[in-house]
Protein backbone atom coordinates (compact mmCIF):
# COMPACT_ATOMS: atom_id res chain seq x y z
CA UNK A 1 0.00 0.00 0.00
CA UNK A 2 1.61 3.23 -1.21
CA UNK A 3 -0.07 6.25 0.39
CA UNK A 4 1.50 8.52 -2.24
CA UNK A 5 -0.81 6.90 -4.82
CA UNK A 6 -3.82 8.23 -2.88
CA UNK A 7 -2.90 11.74 -3.96
CA UNK A 8 -1.96 11.02 -7.58
CA UNK A 9 -4.67 12.12 -10.08
CA UNK A 10 -6.35 9.31 -12.07
CA UNK A 11 -4.57 6.62 -10.02
CA UNK A 12 -6.51 3.35 -9.96
CA UNK A 13 -6.46 1.97 -6.44
CA UNK A 14 -7.13 -1.63 -5.34
CA UNK A 15 -10.68 -2.16 -4.05
CA UNK A 16 -9.45 -2.66 -0.48
CA UNK A 17 -7.65 0.69 -0.44
CA UNK A 18 -10.64 2.52 -1.98
CA UNK A 19 -12.88 1.03 0.75
CA UNK A 20 -10.38 2.10 3.39
CA UNK A 21 -10.46 5.69 2.11
CA UNK A 22 -14.29 5.74 2.11
CA UNK A 23 -14.36 4.27 5.63
CA UNK A 24 -11.82 6.88 6.78
CA UNK A 25 -14.04 9.70 5.49
CA UNK A 26 -17.12 8.22 7.19
CA UNK A 27 -15.27 8.00 10.53
CA UNK A 28 -13.90 11.52 10.10
CA UNK A 29 -17.37 12.86 9.32
CA UNK A 30 -18.87 11.14 12.32
CA UNK A 31 -16.07 12.40 14.58
CA UNK A 32 -16.44 15.95 13.21
CA UNK A 33 -20.19 15.77 13.85
CA UNK A 34 -19.61 14.55 17.41
CA UNK A 35 -16.93 17.20 18.06
CA UNK A 36 -18.94 20.10 16.66
CA UNK A 37 -22.01 19.25 18.74
CA UNK A 38 -20.25 19.30 22.11
CA UNK A 39 -21.07 22.93 22.95
CA UNK A 40 -24.28 24.61 24.12
CA UNK A 41 -25.41 25.97 20.74
CA UNK A 42 -25.33 23.59 17.77
CA UNK A 43 -26.52 23.73 14.19
CA UNK A 44 -27.09 19.98 14.18
CA UNK A 45 -28.23 17.76 17.06
CA UNK A 46 -25.46 15.57 18.59
CA UNK A 47 -25.23 11.86 17.59
CA UNK A 48 -26.61 10.64 20.94
CA UNK A 49 -29.74 12.77 20.53
CA UNK A 50 -30.25 11.40 17.01
CA UNK A 51 -29.80 7.88 18.39
CA UNK A 52 -32.42 8.56 21.09
CA UNK A 53 -34.73 9.97 18.42
CA UNK A 54 -34.27 6.85 16.34
CA UNK A 55 -35.06 4.61 19.31
CA UNK A 56 -38.20 6.59 20.10
CA UNK A 57 -39.29 6.46 16.46
CA UNK A 58 -38.76 2.70 16.39
CA UNK A 59 -40.98 2.26 19.43
CA UNK A 60 -43.65 4.42 17.79
CA UNK A 61 -43.75 2.11 14.74
CA UNK A 62 -41.04 3.44 12.45
CA UNK A 63 -41.02 0.18 10.46
CA UNK A 64 -44.75 0.49 9.74
CA UNK A 65 -44.24 4.07 8.56
CA UNK A 66 -41.35 3.01 6.31
CA UNK A 67 -43.65 0.31 4.90
CA UNK A 68 -46.37 2.89 4.30
CA UNK A 69 -43.95 5.18 2.44
CA UNK A 70 -42.58 2.32 0.36
CA UNK A 71 -46.09 1.15 -0.48
CA UNK A 72 -47.05 4.66 -1.60
CA UNK A 73 -43.91 4.87 -3.70
CA UNK A 74 -44.51 1.44 -5.20
CA UNK A 75 -48.10 2.21 -6.21
CA UNK A 76 -47.10 5.52 -7.80
CA UNK A 77 -44.09 3.96 -9.51
CA UNK A 78 -46.08 1.10 -11.03
CA UNK A 79 -48.76 3.38 -12.47
CA UNK A 80 -46.16 5.86 -13.66
CA UNK A 81 -43.95 3.20 -15.28
CA UNK A 82 -46.85 1.63 -17.19
CA UNK A 83 -48.17 5.01 -18.34
CA UNK A 84 -44.76 6.43 -19.27
CA UNK A 85 -43.55 3.31 -21.06
CA UNK A 86 -46.73 3.09 -23.08
CA UNK A 87 -46.44 6.69 -24.22
CA UNK A 88 -42.71 6.50 -24.89
CA UNK A 89 -42.88 3.22 -26.79
CA UNK A 90 -45.60 4.69 -28.99
CA UNK A 91 -43.61 7.88 -29.59
CA UNK A 92 -41.81 6.54 -32.71
CA UNK A 93 -45.26 6.59 -34.36
CA UNK A 94 -45.41 10.08 -35.92
CA UNK A 95 -49.09 10.57 -35.09
CA UNK A 96 -48.56 9.85 -31.39
CA UNK A 97 -45.14 11.51 -30.98
CA UNK A 98 -46.54 14.90 -29.85
CA UNK A 99 -48.22 13.21 -26.85
CA UNK A 100 -44.99 12.06 -25.22
CA UNK A 101 -43.05 15.17 -26.26
CA UNK A 102 -45.82 17.46 -25.00
CA UNK A 103 -46.03 15.71 -21.63
CA UNK A 104 -42.27 15.89 -21.30
CA UNK A 105 -42.44 19.69 -21.76
CA UNK A 106 -45.04 19.88 -18.96
CA UNK A 107 -42.31 19.17 -16.42
CA UNK A 108 -41.80 22.92 -16.29
CA UNK A 109 -45.36 23.40 -15.07
CA UNK A 110 -45.53 24.01 -11.29
CA UNK A 111 -47.17 21.19 -9.36
CA UNK A 112 -49.20 23.61 -7.21
CA UNK A 113 -51.88 24.25 -9.84
CA UNK A 114 -52.17 20.61 -10.78
CA UNK A 115 -53.09 19.50 -7.26
CA UNK A 116 -56.19 21.71 -7.47
CA UNK A 117 -57.51 19.80 -10.49
CA UNK A 118 -56.48 16.48 -8.99
CA UNK A 119 -58.45 17.36 -5.85
CA UNK A 120 -61.56 17.77 -8.01
CA UNK A 121 -61.02 14.44 -9.76
CA UNK A 122 -59.77 12.36 -6.83
CA UNK A 123 -61.78 12.22 -3.64
CA UNK A 124 -59.76 10.30 -1.08
CA UNK A 125 -56.48 11.62 0.24
CA UNK A 126 -54.47 8.43 -0.29
CA UNK A 127 -55.34 8.40 -4.00
CA UNK A 128 -54.48 12.08 -4.09
CA UNK A 129 -50.99 11.27 -2.72
CA UNK A 130 -50.52 8.52 -5.30
CA UNK A 131 -51.68 10.65 -8.24
CA UNK A 132 -49.59 13.68 -7.29
CA UNK A 133 -46.56 11.40 -7.29
CA UNK A 134 -47.65 9.73 -10.55
CA UNK A 135 -48.00 13.08 -12.33
CA UNK A 136 -44.69 14.33 -10.97
CA UNK A 137 -42.81 11.11 -11.67
CA UNK A 138 -44.28 10.45 -15.12
CA UNK A 139 -43.22 13.80 -16.55
CA UNK A 140 -39.59 13.15 -15.63
CA UNK A 141 -39.79 9.47 -16.50
CA UNK A 142 -41.11 10.23 -20.01
CA UNK A 143 -38.38 12.84 -20.50
CA UNK A 144 -35.63 10.39 -19.56
CA UNK A 145 -37.11 7.55 -21.63
CA UNK A 146 -37.40 9.81 -24.68
CA UNK A 147 -33.69 10.54 -24.17
CA UNK A 148 -32.94 6.79 -24.15
CA UNK A 149 -34.88 6.36 -27.40
CA UNK A 150 -33.18 9.24 -29.18
CA UNK A 151 -29.77 7.85 -28.16
CA UNK A 152 -30.36 4.54 -29.95
CA UNK A 153 -27.81 4.51 -32.77
CA UNK A 154 -29.21 4.47 -36.32
CA UNK A 155 -26.93 1.46 -36.93
CA UNK A 156 -29.00 -0.69 -34.55
CA UNK A 157 -32.22 0.17 -36.36
CA UNK A 158 -30.60 -0.45 -39.77
CA UNK A 159 -29.24 -3.78 -38.53
CA UNK A 160 -32.73 -4.96 -37.63
CA UNK A 161 -34.16 -3.66 -40.92
CA UNK A 162 -31.44 -5.46 -42.89
CA UNK A 163 -32.55 -8.67 -41.18
CA UNK A 164 -35.99 -8.16 -42.64
CA UNK A 165 -37.64 -6.84 -39.47
CA UNK A 166 -40.87 -4.93 -40.02
CA UNK A 167 -41.06 -1.51 -38.37
CA UNK A 168 -43.07 -3.04 -35.49
CA UNK A 169 -40.41 -5.72 -35.05
CA UNK A 170 -37.74 -3.00 -34.96
CA UNK A 171 -39.75 -1.28 -32.22
CA UNK A 172 -40.07 -4.53 -30.27
CA UNK A 173 -36.51 -5.82 -30.69
CA UNK A 174 -34.40 -2.66 -30.68
CA UNK A 175 -36.45 -0.26 -28.59
CA UNK A 176 -38.48 -2.38 -26.17
CA UNK A 177 -36.48 -5.58 -25.61
CA UNK A 178 -33.14 -4.03 -26.47
CA UNK A 179 -33.43 -1.23 -23.93
CA UNK A 180 -35.09 -2.92 -20.92
CA UNK A 181 -31.98 -2.42 -18.81
CA UNK A 182 -32.11 1.30 -19.55
CA UNK A 183 -35.68 1.39 -18.20
CA UNK A 184 -34.44 0.10 -14.84
CA UNK A 185 -31.64 2.64 -14.83
CA UNK A 186 -34.01 5.50 -15.68
CA UNK A 187 -36.35 4.23 -12.96
CA UNK A 188 -33.45 4.32 -10.51
CA UNK A 189 -32.62 7.94 -11.33
CA UNK A 190 -36.25 9.08 -11.24
CA UNK A 191 -37.11 7.21 -8.08
CA UNK A 192 -34.51 9.32 -6.30
CA UNK A 193 -36.46 12.47 -7.25
CA UNK A 194 -39.75 10.88 -6.16
CA UNK A 195 -38.27 9.72 -2.88
CA UNK A 196 -37.23 13.32 -2.21
CA UNK A 197 -40.82 14.45 -2.91
CA UNK A 198 -42.17 12.01 -0.36
CA UNK A 199 -42.23 14.34 2.64
CA UNK A 200 -44.24 16.97 0.75
CA UNK A 201 -46.70 14.47 -0.68
CA UNK A 202 -47.22 12.50 2.53
CA UNK A 203 -48.09 15.65 4.41
CA UNK A 204 -51.32 15.79 2.34
CA UNK A 205 -52.77 13.00 4.45
CA UNK A 206 -51.51 12.66 8.01
CA UNK A 207 -53.75 9.67 8.84
CA UNK A 208 -52.07 7.51 6.20
CA UNK A 209 -48.77 7.76 8.06
CA UNK A 210 -45.40 7.42 6.44
CA UNK A 211 -41.97 8.94 6.88
CA UNK A 212 -43.19 12.31 5.63
CA UNK A 213 -45.80 12.50 8.38
CA UNK A 214 -43.25 11.57 11.04
CA UNK A 215 -40.82 14.24 9.90
CA UNK A 216 -43.60 16.85 9.77
CA UNK A 217 -44.73 16.02 13.31
CA UNK A 218 -41.16 16.10 14.60
CA UNK A 219 -40.65 19.46 12.95
CA UNK A 220 -43.77 20.80 14.65
CA UNK A 221 -42.32 19.97 18.08
CA UNK A 222 -38.81 21.15 17.14
CA UNK A 223 -37.44 17.69 17.91
CA UNK A 224 -34.23 17.97 15.94
CA UNK A 225 -32.88 14.61 17.06
CA UNK A 226 -35.91 12.88 15.56
CA UNK A 227 -35.81 15.01 12.39
CA UNK A 228 -32.20 14.12 11.76
CA UNK A 229 -32.84 10.45 12.56
CA UNK A 230 -35.70 10.45 10.07
CA UNK A 231 -33.61 12.16 7.42
CA UNK A 232 -30.97 9.49 7.83
CA UNK A 233 -33.63 6.76 7.62
CA UNK A 234 -35.04 8.30 4.40
CA UNK A 235 -31.51 8.59 2.99
CA UNK A 236 -30.59 4.98 3.79
CA UNK A 237 -33.90 3.50 2.59
CA UNK A 238 -33.48 5.49 -0.65
CA UNK A 239 -29.92 4.26 -1.04
CA UNK A 240 -31.15 0.72 -0.36
CA UNK A 241 -33.70 0.98 -3.20
CA UNK A 242 -30.98 2.33 -5.47
CA UNK A 243 -28.61 -0.55 -4.68
CA UNK A 244 -31.43 -3.08 -5.12
CA UNK A 245 -32.45 -1.74 -8.54
CA UNK A 246 -28.85 -1.56 -9.72
CA UNK A 247 -28.29 -5.15 -8.56
CA UNK A 248 -31.49 -6.25 -10.33
CA UNK A 249 -30.35 -4.58 -13.57
CA UNK A 250 -26.95 -6.24 -13.48
CA UNK A 251 -28.38 -9.64 -12.53
CA UNK A 252 -31.29 -9.68 -14.97
CA UNK A 253 -29.42 -8.17 -17.90
CA UNK A 254 -25.94 -9.64 -18.24
CA UNK A 255 -25.35 -7.60 -21.37
CA UNK A 256 -26.00 -4.30 -19.60
CA UNK A 257 -22.93 -2.09 -19.54
CA UNK A 258 -24.54 1.22 -18.60
Amino acid sequence: MDIKNWLRPFEKLPRREATLIALGWAIFLFFYWWLMTRGEKNLFPPPEKVWQGLQALYQEGLVVHIGSSLWLCLQATLISVVFSLLLTYLSPIPLLRPLAKGLSRLRYLPLTGITFYLAILVHDARSMQVWVLVVFMSLYFITSLLGVLSDIPEDEINHARALGCSRWEVLLEVVIKGRLDYVIDVLRQNLAITWMMLVTVESILVAAGGLGVLIKNSDKFMNHGRIMALQLVILFVGLGIDVLLNYARKTLFRYSTI
Partner: protein, 281 residues
Protein backbone atom coordinates in the same frame (compact mmCIF):
# COMPACT_ATOMS: atom_id res chain seq x y z
CA UNK B 1 -9.23 -19.78 -65.11
CA UNK B 2 -12.16 -21.13 -67.07
CA UNK B 3 -15.42 -19.37 -66.42
CA UNK B 4 -18.56 -18.36 -68.21
CA UNK B 5 -20.86 -15.43 -67.57
CA UNK B 6 -24.46 -16.54 -67.30
CA UNK B 7 -27.49 -14.66 -68.56
CA UNK B 8 -28.69 -14.22 -65.01
CA UNK B 9 -28.09 -10.66 -63.91
CA UNK B 10 -27.54 -10.81 -60.18
CA UNK B 11 -27.33 -7.07 -59.58
CA UNK B 12 -28.56 -4.22 -61.68
CA UNK B 13 -28.15 -0.63 -60.57
CA UNK B 14 -29.48 2.00 -62.91
CA UNK B 15 -29.07 5.76 -62.67
CA UNK B 16 -29.06 5.63 -58.88
CA UNK B 17 -28.77 8.88 -56.97
CA UNK B 18 -29.36 9.82 -53.33
CA UNK B 19 -30.07 13.33 -52.09
CA UNK B 20 -30.26 14.61 -48.51
CA UNK B 21 -32.23 17.84 -48.75
CA UNK B 22 -30.54 19.87 -51.46
CA UNK B 23 -27.26 17.97 -51.23
CA UNK B 24 -26.72 15.15 -53.70
CA UNK B 25 -24.42 12.51 -52.21
CA UNK B 26 -24.21 10.02 -55.08
CA UNK B 27 -25.55 10.30 -58.61
CA UNK B 28 -25.84 8.39 -61.83
CA UNK B 29 -24.53 5.12 -60.38
CA UNK B 30 -24.76 2.27 -62.87
CA UNK B 31 -23.64 -1.27 -62.19
CA UNK B 32 -24.42 -4.62 -63.71
CA UNK B 33 -23.14 -7.94 -62.46
CA UNK B 34 -23.88 -11.37 -63.88
CA UNK B 35 -23.69 -14.80 -62.36
CA UNK B 36 -20.27 -16.36 -62.90
CA UNK B 37 -19.87 -20.10 -63.41
CA UNK B 38 -16.39 -21.43 -62.86
CA UNK B 39 -15.49 -24.90 -64.06
CA UNK B 40 -15.08 -27.29 -61.15
CA UNK B 41 -16.00 -24.70 -58.49
CA UNK B 42 -19.04 -23.33 -56.76
CA UNK B 43 -18.20 -19.69 -57.28
CA UNK B 44 -20.13 -16.78 -55.83
CA UNK B 45 -19.31 -13.18 -56.68
CA UNK B 46 -17.17 -10.68 -54.80
CA UNK B 47 -17.56 -7.04 -55.71
CA UNK B 48 -15.33 -4.39 -54.18
CA UNK B 49 -16.39 -0.77 -53.95
CA UNK B 50 -13.35 1.42 -53.44
CA UNK B 51 -13.05 5.14 -52.95
CA UNK B 52 -11.59 7.79 -50.72
CA UNK B 53 -13.32 8.77 -47.49
CA UNK B 54 -16.46 10.89 -47.81
CA UNK B 55 -17.24 9.68 -51.34
CA UNK B 56 -20.62 8.23 -50.43
CA UNK B 57 -19.70 4.54 -50.18
CA UNK B 58 -21.83 3.99 -47.07
CA UNK B 59 -24.77 5.83 -48.70
CA UNK B 60 -24.38 3.62 -51.76
CA UNK B 61 -24.37 0.53 -49.54
CA UNK B 62 -27.50 1.62 -47.69
CA UNK B 63 -29.23 2.21 -51.04
CA UNK B 64 -28.11 -1.15 -52.38
CA UNK B 65 -29.72 -2.99 -49.48
CA UNK B 66 -32.89 -0.92 -49.52
CA UNK B 67 -32.27 1.00 -46.30
CA UNK B 68 -32.04 4.29 -48.18
CA UNK B 69 -34.70 5.35 -50.65
CA UNK B 70 -33.03 6.52 -53.89
CA UNK B 71 -33.90 9.97 -55.23
CA UNK B 72 -33.64 8.59 -58.76
CA UNK B 73 -33.00 5.20 -60.31
CA UNK B 74 -33.31 1.76 -58.79
CA UNK B 75 -31.52 -1.35 -57.62
CA UNK B 76 -32.84 -4.64 -58.95
CA UNK B 77 -32.09 -8.22 -58.08
CA UNK B 78 -33.60 -11.56 -59.13
CA UNK B 79 -36.74 -12.53 -57.26
CA UNK B 80 -35.39 -15.75 -55.75
CA UNK B 81 -38.42 -16.45 -53.61
CA UNK B 82 -40.97 -16.40 -56.41
CA UNK B 83 -39.04 -18.23 -59.12
CA UNK B 84 -41.14 -20.58 -61.20
CA UNK B 85 -39.59 -23.81 -62.46
CA UNK B 86 -38.16 -23.73 -65.99
CA UNK B 87 -38.58 -19.99 -66.16
CA UNK B 88 -35.87 -17.34 -65.89
CA UNK B 89 -35.70 -15.19 -62.78
CA UNK B 90 -38.11 -12.29 -62.59
CA UNK B 91 -36.57 -9.06 -61.32
CA UNK B 92 -37.67 -7.03 -58.38
CA UNK B 93 -36.62 -3.78 -56.83
CA UNK B 94 -34.58 -4.31 -53.71
CA UNK B 95 -36.27 -3.85 -50.34
CA UNK B 96 -34.91 -3.80 -46.80
CA UNK B 97 -34.20 -7.38 -45.77
CA UNK B 98 -33.34 -8.54 -49.30
CA UNK B 99 -29.62 -8.01 -48.75
CA UNK B 100 -27.67 -8.68 -45.59
CA UNK B 101 -25.81 -5.63 -44.34
CA UNK B 102 -22.91 -5.61 -41.90
CA UNK B 103 -21.72 -2.14 -40.99
CA UNK B 104 -18.29 -1.01 -39.85
CA UNK B 105 -19.19 -1.51 -36.19
CA UNK B 106 -20.51 -5.08 -36.60
CA UNK B 107 -23.78 -4.06 -34.97
CA UNK B 108 -25.71 -6.89 -33.31
CA UNK B 109 -28.78 -7.10 -31.07
CA UNK B 110 -27.26 -6.19 -27.70
CA UNK B 111 -29.82 -8.32 -25.82
CA UNK B 112 -29.35 -11.54 -27.79
CA UNK B 113 -26.65 -14.17 -27.37
CA UNK B 114 -24.91 -15.48 -30.49
CA UNK B 115 -27.28 -18.46 -30.62
CA UNK B 116 -30.38 -16.34 -29.99
CA UNK B 117 -29.30 -13.91 -32.73
CA UNK B 118 -28.98 -16.78 -35.22
CA UNK B 119 -32.37 -18.19 -34.24
CA UNK B 120 -33.91 -14.77 -34.70
CA UNK B 121 -32.32 -14.41 -38.15
CA UNK B 122 -33.96 -17.73 -39.10
CA UNK B 123 -37.37 -16.80 -37.70
CA UNK B 124 -39.09 -16.70 -41.10
CA UNK B 125 -37.69 -20.03 -42.28
CA UNK B 126 -39.49 -23.35 -42.12
CA UNK B 127 -38.45 -26.05 -39.66
CA UNK B 128 -38.65 -26.75 -35.96
CA UNK B 129 -36.54 -24.96 -33.38
CA UNK B 130 -34.50 -28.16 -32.91
CA UNK B 131 -33.75 -28.42 -36.63
CA UNK B 132 -32.75 -24.77 -36.76
CA UNK B 133 -30.53 -25.16 -33.70
CA UNK B 134 -28.79 -28.19 -35.23
CA UNK B 135 -28.08 -26.18 -38.39
CA UNK B 136 -26.90 -23.20 -36.34
CA UNK B 137 -24.56 -25.36 -34.24
CA UNK B 138 -23.01 -26.82 -37.40
CA UNK B 139 -22.35 -23.36 -38.78
CA UNK B 140 -21.07 -22.01 -35.45
CA UNK B 141 -18.53 -24.85 -35.33
CA UNK B 142 -17.43 -24.15 -38.90
CA UNK B 143 -17.06 -20.44 -38.17
CA UNK B 144 -15.27 -20.92 -34.84
CA UNK B 145 -18.09 -19.46 -32.76
CA UNK B 146 -19.53 -22.54 -31.06
CA UNK B 147 -17.71 -21.93 -27.76
CA UNK B 148 -19.18 -18.44 -27.48
CA UNK B 149 -22.73 -19.32 -28.55
CA UNK B 150 -24.21 -18.30 -25.17
CA UNK B 151 -22.35 -15.01 -24.98
CA UNK B 152 -23.74 -11.53 -25.59
CA UNK B 153 -22.11 -9.09 -28.05
CA UNK B 154 -20.40 -7.16 -25.23
CA UNK B 155 -18.70 -10.41 -24.18
CA UNK B 156 -17.24 -11.12 -27.65
CA UNK B 157 -13.90 -10.05 -29.13
CA UNK B 158 -13.87 -7.81 -32.22
CA UNK B 159 -13.23 -10.74 -34.56
CA UNK B 160 -15.96 -12.87 -32.95
CA UNK B 161 -18.41 -9.99 -33.19
CA UNK B 162 -17.65 -9.54 -36.85
CA UNK B 163 -18.06 -13.21 -37.71
CA UNK B 164 -21.30 -13.31 -35.71
CA UNK B 165 -22.62 -10.27 -37.62
CA UNK B 166 -21.81 -11.90 -40.97
CA UNK B 167 -23.06 -15.35 -39.98
CA UNK B 168 -26.32 -13.78 -38.82
CA UNK B 169 -26.85 -12.63 -42.42
CA UNK B 170 -25.78 -16.03 -43.75
CA UNK B 171 -28.36 -17.92 -41.68
CA UNK B 172 -30.90 -15.25 -42.59
CA UNK B 173 -30.75 -16.90 -46.02
CA UNK B 174 -29.74 -13.79 -47.88
CA UNK B 175 -27.68 -14.32 -51.03
CA UNK B 176 -26.27 -10.81 -50.84
CA UNK B 177 -23.82 -9.66 -48.20
CA UNK B 178 -22.92 -6.01 -48.04
CA UNK B 179 -19.91 -5.57 -45.82
CA UNK B 180 -18.87 -2.02 -45.05
CA UNK B 181 -15.12 -2.06 -44.37
CA UNK B 182 -14.95 -5.61 -43.01
CA UNK B 183 -11.17 -5.46 -42.63
CA UNK B 184 -10.89 -2.23 -40.67
CA UNK B 185 -9.34 -2.56 -37.25
CA UNK B 186 -8.54 -6.28 -37.65
CA UNK B 187 -5.20 -7.81 -36.75
CA UNK B 188 -3.36 -10.03 -39.23
CA UNK B 189 -4.93 -13.23 -37.84
CA UNK B 190 -8.45 -11.89 -38.09
CA UNK B 191 -7.80 -10.58 -41.61
CA UNK B 192 -6.89 -14.13 -42.65
CA UNK B 193 -10.02 -15.45 -40.94
CA UNK B 194 -12.07 -12.82 -42.78
CA UNK B 195 -10.57 -13.85 -46.11
CA UNK B 196 -11.52 -17.43 -45.27
CA UNK B 197 -15.04 -16.21 -44.48
CA UNK B 198 -15.25 -14.70 -47.97
CA UNK B 199 -14.25 -18.05 -49.46
CA UNK B 200 -16.79 -19.90 -47.29
CA UNK B 201 -19.62 -17.63 -48.43
CA UNK B 202 -18.58 -17.77 -52.08
CA UNK B 203 -18.25 -21.55 -52.02
CA UNK B 204 -21.63 -22.01 -50.33
CA UNK B 205 -23.85 -20.98 -53.23
CA UNK B 206 -23.36 -20.11 -56.86
CA UNK B 207 -25.44 -16.95 -56.45
CA UNK B 208 -23.93 -15.70 -53.20
CA UNK B 209 -22.64 -12.20 -53.76
CA UNK B 210 -20.41 -10.21 -51.45
CA UNK B 211 -20.24 -6.47 -51.94
CA UNK B 212 -17.58 -4.90 -49.76
CA UNK B 213 -15.53 -1.79 -49.25
CA UNK B 214 -12.03 -1.43 -47.89
CA UNK B 215 -9.19 1.05 -47.84
CA UNK B 216 -6.74 -1.81 -48.43
CA UNK B 217 -6.59 -1.78 -52.23
CA UNK B 218 -4.32 -4.85 -52.51
CA UNK B 219 -6.70 -6.89 -50.40
CA UNK B 220 -9.63 -5.75 -52.53
CA UNK B 221 -7.89 -6.78 -55.75
CA UNK B 222 -6.92 -10.11 -54.16
CA UNK B 223 -10.47 -10.97 -53.11
CA UNK B 224 -12.76 -9.34 -55.65
CA UNK B 225 -13.66 -10.37 -59.15
CA UNK B 226 -15.16 -6.99 -59.94
CA UNK B 227 -13.99 -3.62 -58.62
CA UNK B 228 -15.78 -0.28 -58.78
CA UNK B 229 -14.05 2.97 -57.87
CA UNK B 230 -16.36 5.64 -56.46
CA UNK B 231 -15.32 9.28 -56.46
CA UNK B 232 -15.89 12.77 -57.77
CA UNK B 233 -15.72 13.02 -61.52
CA UNK B 234 -13.03 15.36 -62.89
CA UNK B 235 -14.72 17.95 -65.10
CA UNK B 236 -13.14 19.51 -68.22
CA UNK B 237 -12.66 22.87 -66.44
CA UNK B 238 -10.48 21.21 -63.80
CA UNK B 239 -13.13 21.17 -61.07
CA UNK B 240 -14.91 18.11 -59.67
CA UNK B 241 -18.52 17.01 -59.71
CA UNK B 242 -20.38 17.79 -56.48
CA UNK B 243 -21.73 14.28 -56.06
CA UNK B 244 -19.83 11.02 -56.18
CA UNK B 245 -20.33 8.44 -58.91
CA UNK B 246 -18.61 5.37 -60.36
CA UNK B 247 -15.46 6.66 -62.01
CA UNK B 248 -13.90 3.35 -63.02
CA UNK B 249 -14.77 -0.33 -63.21
CA UNK B 250 -12.28 -3.21 -63.33
CA UNK B 251 -13.52 -6.63 -64.39
CA UNK B 252 -10.90 -8.92 -62.90
CA UNK B 253 -12.48 -12.05 -64.37
CA UNK B 254 -11.99 -10.93 -67.96
CA UNK B 255 -8.51 -9.73 -67.10
CA UNK B 256 -7.69 -13.23 -65.85
CA UNK B 257 -6.61 -12.04 -62.40
CA UNK B 258 -9.61 -13.14 -60.34
CA UNK B 259 -9.48 -16.14 -57.95
CA UNK B 260 -5.68 -16.42 -57.92
CA UNK B 261 -3.97 -17.83 -54.83
CA UNK B 262 -1.19 -15.27 -54.86
CA UNK B 263 -0.84 -11.68 -55.93
CA UNK B 264 0.85 -11.36 -59.34
CA UNK B 265 2.32 -8.41 -61.22
CA UNK B 266 -1.02 -8.10 -63.03
CA UNK B 267 -2.70 -7.57 -59.65
CA UNK B 268 -0.18 -4.93 -58.67
CA UNK B 269 -0.70 -3.10 -61.96
CA UNK B 270 -4.40 -2.92 -61.23
CA UNK B 271 -3.67 -1.73 -57.69
CA UNK B 272 -1.65 1.10 -59.21
CA UNK B 273 -4.46 1.95 -61.64
CA UNK B 274 -7.00 2.00 -58.81
CA UNK B 275 -4.76 4.30 -56.79
CA UNK B 276 -4.43 6.68 -59.72
CA UNK B 277 -8.18 6.67 -60.24
CA UNK B 278 -8.78 7.35 -56.54
CA UNK B 279 -6.22 10.14 -56.36
CA UNK B 280 -7.87 11.89 -59.27
CA UNK B 281 -11.30 11.79 -57.69
Amino acid sequence: MAFTLQDTIILSVENLSVKYGDKTIIENINMEERDVVRTGHVQGQSIAILGRSGRGKSTLFRSLCGLEKPSTGFVRIPDFKNKKEDEPYQFKEVHEGDMGFVNQHYTLFRHKTVEQAMLFAMRKQDGTKQEKLAHIHDLLKKWGLYAVRHQYPNELSGGQRQRTAILEQVVGASKYYILDEPFSGLDVGNIERMKETFRLINAEDELNTIIFSTHDIELAIELADSVYVVGYLALPDGSYSEAATIIKHFDLKSGGVAWQDKLSQAHLDIVEEVKQAMMGS
